[in-house]
Assembly symmetry: C2
Homo-oligomer: 237 residues x 2
């Protein structure tokens, strides 16, 4: 039997180095895009359509969809909302379709869908659901960190490490990035909020006054659904 | 006063994201290029000329230099030697000029020299010398990991972490990569040989029968010189 492998790609800029044909890609943008997407799908959003640019997002206006656009941590002027998870509560999005563009997360989805076997969305909110699903598939796993403007970031890496931590007992081959992510997660896991407080992104989000968002995104296993990309739309798996 | 920053670039593929104008770049390829370069300069090599390709290396034949070429961990056929540190002992290279091309390390040097304020070479062999030098300069620091074929690797990251570990008390700004490297080094520092044994590169080198090289490259502070790039030649600083 083919020994499955787990790899961690620390930024979308490195994605061309990976062969995704036989891989399930888990897109990770903890602060905040993929956390919000998980929360929105759990709360009954019909679909979330990730797009790369603000212009593409605007183009959906006439469809009657909710439009969400974030750049550099802020809601883009003129849009319904950005990627604060609190905007994805049940009373706001149940039964709705949302078009979303963000600084890092939606770009990562866009890049991976070109060649991956399947693209799903992960966050601490649905950690166990994602791991349980991956274990049951006979596929390689690529954990794709959205990072910050193409650079490495810690919070996405920690989540990747949390997945490696659960999967590694199942006899996967781990690359060096997976080993590193797992070891970092081991150091951080008992105090995710404290550990991530020292990251650069966390500093940046604090300045924007969205510390409550950060705390929310570090809730572990409060949702059970897995958003999966089907024909350019994220829906419940 | 400008607060200096330390950044870690995990692979040369990400180097274009960094502004190097005010930075000293430390090139890191622990297994084995930069370890061997440090050892060679310490042992009295007049200069080591890093070049990108095997062809460029061959072109120096008529100059009477020693030619060293490594690809995929092996000496390229027809060359004097590759990048095993034992080939850089005093009796072999004192007073000589060596032209060197390797799979990852020389490419990293090549990329960084284009815009950096200064390029120096680091390895566990000259760890303290590198740190002491950096602390005295009013420059930013970019720790450039050569990685493995453009991907992240653990051993280069651990050395980057070792440098961050020594410098961070001096009030540098650390990016997320530096924090991660430091935390990984903290986990590994009491048993570098044991920790790196689990890396993918170490597996690969074991198959090549060069475990003695690996152990040698994890010797800490056995040399005092710092190789610095001056007009395309690495010489003693």
């Amino acid at each position: 039997m083919h020994k499955r492998k787990i790899e961690v790609c620390f930024t979308p800029a490195l994605l061309p180095l990976y062969d995704l044909k036989n891989a399930i890609v888990v897109v990770i943008d903890i602060f905040r895009a993929t956390s919000s997407i998980c929360f929105g799908i759990e709360n009954g959003a019909e679909a979330i359509i990730p797009v790369g640019t603000v212009e593409e997002c605007s183009a959906f206006e006439k469809e009657g969809y909710l439009l969400a656009a974030e750049r550099d941590g802020k809601v883009v002027e003129g849009f319904d909302f950005g990627n604060s998870p609190f905007a994805y509560a049940e009373d706001k999005i149940k039964g709705k379709t949302i078009v979303l563009t963000t600084t890092n997360g939606t770009h990562a989805i866009d890049e991976s869908k070109k060649t991956a076997h399947q693209v799903i969305i992960g966050s601490f909110l649905n950690l166990d659901a994602v791991c349980d699903y991956l274990k049951k598939q006979s596929k390689d796993v690529l954990l794709l960190c959205a990072g910050w403007k193409k650079k490495f970031n810690l919070e996405d890496t920690l989540f990747a490490g949390a997945v490696v931590h659960q999967l590694k007992a199942d006899d996967y081959f781990l690359d060096d990035s997976s080993i590193a992510a797992d070891d970092l997660y081991n150091q951080a896991k008992d105090d995710l909020v404290g550990y991530t407080a020292k990251t650069s992104h966390s500093e940046r989000l604090k300045k924007l006054g969205i510390e409550e968002d950060i705390k929310f995104c570090l809730n572990v296993n409060i949702t059970k659904s897995i958003p999966v990309l089907v024909k350019d739309r994220l829906v419940r798996l």
